[in-house]
Symmetry: D2
Subunit: 144 residues, 4 copies
C-alpha cells in the first residue's frame, strides 16, 4: 500500500473480511443443495462488501471509470449448503498489483466448510482495455 | 422503419409462435421443480425468438435505439416442471399499439399445462423515456 | 387467527414486514437494471423473513410436511433498480385462509417505487396434494 | 450396467461434444456481458447434452440412484459474450475412472474464445456417499 495518505479514508484496503449470507430458495437446485454456480455470486458479494469497508464502493469505482472483470475463478466444493443456511464467508486479499487482484474465499455452514475458492479480477476501462489498478487499490501482501 | 414496404421481410410480425425449452438443472429448486421466477425468463426467450422470426432480432432493435422494458408480468402456475423436461412454449401477440406490446404464454410439459402468463412491455429510448412503437411493430389484433 | 394460544410463540403471524435487500451484480442485466424476474425472488425472500419473525421458519414448516408453492404471481414495474441499490421491501399479508396465502409487496429504492407485486401461495403436502393451512398460519384480514 | 454389451447403445460414452447456446437477456449483467457465474451453467448443460448422446440421460442416471455432484470447477475468462450471442461449446471428456469424471470446455462466440473451463464431478448415492462410477461411464482417456 505504497504512498498511502493515512488521512485518506478511501485508501484503507482491508486484507480480510467476514460476512454472512442467508441461502435463498432460488439458489438451491433439485438435488436439495445450493447450485454450484451460485458460489461465484457469493464470492462477488463478498468482494463488494469487503471493498465497501474501504470507504469506497465498487459502484463508486465504476463511476470513476474503473471496471473490474473476472479473469479466473476456481471453486472446490466440500459440502452441500441447504436452503436457509446462514453461511459465513471469509475473504482474504491475496494480491493486488499491476492490473489484477486475487482473492481467496472460504464458505462455511454449521456443519463445516462448504467450499473454498479463488478469483482473479482485472481492472479495465470503459472500453474494456486493461489498465493499472488505481494506486489506493494496490496492496503488497506476502503470499501464502 | 415507417412506411412499411409490404415486400420488406422485417415488417411481418408473427402473431403466434411455438418453441421448446429444455429445463436446466440450475433452474430447478429444492422442491424438485423449476423455480417459479424462471418462467419469466422463458417468456422473455419466447418473445425474443418470436421477434426473430419477423426478420429482425431484439438485438437489432436495441441497436436502433428501441429498448423494450417489462412493465407488467403475471403468471398462473398449474403444475411443477422438472429438470430435463422438454417444455413447449406457445406465445401469442395480443396487442401492439401506442407504446406497449402484450403477449400471452402457455407452457406445457408431457403431463399438461405448467403455467399461463401475460406480459406487457413498453418501448423506451436509450434514456428510458417512453416512445411509440416503431410502425412495423404495431399490430391490430382482435383481443380475446 | 382463531383459537390461538397466546403462549404459543409460533402462532403470532405478523401482518406487515419491512426489510432491505442490496442488489447484487448478478441480478442486473445488460440494460443496466435489475432483471425483472429477480423481483419474484425478492418477494420470496421477504415472505421467508416475514414468516421467520413469527418464530417458525419456512424450513421448519417444510420439515413438518407443509410445503408452500406459488400458484400466482403478478408484478407491476415502475422504475429500474440498479446495481448496489439498497432496496426497501414492504410486505403485507392480505389473506391466509383455507389453503392459500396472499401477500402484497412494494419495493422502493432512493428514487421511489420500483415495483408493486402480489403472490398467492398454496399449502401442499410432500406428495404435492393441496392441504389446509395449519391453524396458526391462518389469519382473518379485512381486505383492502 | 456392469458387463457392458458392446452392442448396447447406452455404453458408448462420447469423448467429444459440440453444441450451441443462445445467450439469454437474464444471463447478462450491467457491464453488458454474460455474468461470469453463468458459464458454469453452460458447462453443465453441455455435460448433460453430451451424456444424452450416449443413450442415457442424466435424469435416467439419477433415477438409478447415481447422482453426480460438482467437486471442482475452474474457468478462465478471455472475452465477454453478449446478449443474443450464439455460443459454441466444445466439451471433452478428459478422465472418467474411480468415482470422478473430468471435463474440459471451450466456449467461443463470433469474435473468438470466450472462456476455457474444467470441472470434476463425483458420483454419490442418494445419501450423498461417494460411490464408484457405473462401469459404462468409466473411460480410459490418454490425458493431455
Amino acid at each position: 500500500m505504497d504512498g498511502v495518505n493515512p488521512t485518506d479514508k478511501s485508501s484503507t484496503i482491508p486484507l480480510q473480511h467476514q460476512m454472512e449470507i442467508r441461502v435463498r430458495y432460488k439458489e438451491t437446485d433439485a438435488q436439495g443443495h445450493v447450485h454450484h454456480s451460485n458460489y461465484l455470486n457469493y464470492f462477488e458479494v463478498a468482494r463488494t462488501e469487503m471493498l465497501r469497508t474501504s470507504g469506497k464502493s465498487y459502484r463508486d469505482l465504476e463511476a470513476e471509470g474503473v471496471m473490474l472483470v473476472v479473469v479466473k475463478a476456481t471453486c472446490h466444493y466440500k459440502r452441500g449448503a441447504k436452503y436457509d443456511d446462514l453461511l459465513t464467508l471469509d475473504t482474504r486479499l491475496v494480491k493486488a498489483k499491476g492490473t489484477r487482484i486475487t482473492h481467496r474465499y472460504e464458505i462455511r455452514n454449521e456443519q463445516g466448510i462448504v467450499c473454498i475458492g479463488e478469483t482473479v479480477v482485472a481492472a479495465v476501462d470503459r472500453d474494456g482495455r486493461v489498465k493499472r489498478l488505481p494506486k489506493w487499490l494496490r496492496v503488497e501482501v506476502s503470499e501464502t
